[in-house]
Amino acid sequence: MTPVPDGIDLPRGSRTLLDCISDLTHHTFCVQTEGELPSNQPPPTNGAAPGLSDPKQWVEEHGDYLFKYALLRLRDPAKAEDAVQETFLAALKGGRGFAGRSAEKSWLVGILKNKIFDYFRKASRETSFTDLEFYADEESERFVPDGLAKDAWIHELGPGEWSHPGASLDSEVFWKTFQDCSGKLPKNVAAVFHLREVDGVDSREICALLNLSESNLWVMLHRARMALRRCLEINWFEKQGEERAPKKSLKMV
């Protein structure tokens, strides 16, 4: 969670995290302050309170996002659909109410994440998630092949400067490009990338989940990062100044 910067005024009546914590002792539901609650709305109570999303709406509201989340990690539309379905079923049984789409979405993603983890645990016992072939040469052609300066960057081929990378985060085309680049990662490397870089799962936990050795995990991560960096460099950052349009076929060196 990124912290709220100083100087932001919360609307009157907003509930802060401290309010939520003190409320836990009174068994009322905790609602994240997302700017979604008008200040005069009473706190939610058990069951379906007014303004809460109807489970019948869940598929419409959250189905697409949950499916994408699952597909990125499982790389199989049928498995992703199953995972989403099981998530909704489990959520129905859970029967909690939330005010605010955001909190509800986070909760559903949490359930889905656990389903995905279960899948990984089981799958890694049957097939290996190790992939030491992807990007194995590690862009060797961009390094000095021999002599005193062996394995140094060939100067003109080294990483260029990315000017104002932060500004890219506001661009939909940037995110599409990032997605397309990560789509080029093979299945097992992609799983590792999503768990570590997007979800922030601890290295050791990933090793346990995917039955990988730590050293193999680090190699896979290094190569994924290298490949992604290069892909984004070619397809996004080197195009600054030109019109940035998504290419039909991405170069993945």
Binding site: Y69, W175, V198, L221, R225
Partner: protein
């Protein structure tokens, strides 16, 4: 003069032996995102990064991408394709209805 050149060469060779190569430095920077490097490695990497702007750039860039992906999971996920097809949506709705039956 010859002695000075020899000394300079020896010093350079020693430094290069102590420092990782660029290829190594990239690998080490990635590993440093996973666990603290052992002190000798960390020192060698630090020295290399003082001298090599390309490797510095690389490190900045992979950290930027990690930060971007981790702090913007919504934008990242949303940009994925394809989404839930109408047929799949219908299948899920029906199974939910059946379970609430």
């Amino acid at each position: 003069m010859k002695l000075l050149t020899k000394l300079k060469d020896a010093l350079t060779a020693a430094l290069m032996w102590l420092m990782p190569s660029c290829r190594e430095a990239l690998r080490l920077q990635s590993e440093a995102l996973e666990h603290p490097l052992p002190p000798a490695r960390r020192a060698g990497l630090w020295l290399h990064l003082q001298l090599c702007k390309w490797c510095r750039q690389y490190g900045r860039q992979i950290r930027f991408l990690q930060h971007a992906a981790h702090h913007h999971p919504e934008e990242f996920t949303q940009a994925a394709a394809p989404g839930l097809s109408p047929e799949a949506r219908q299948r899920i709705r029906e199974k939910l209805r059946a379970s609430q039956g």
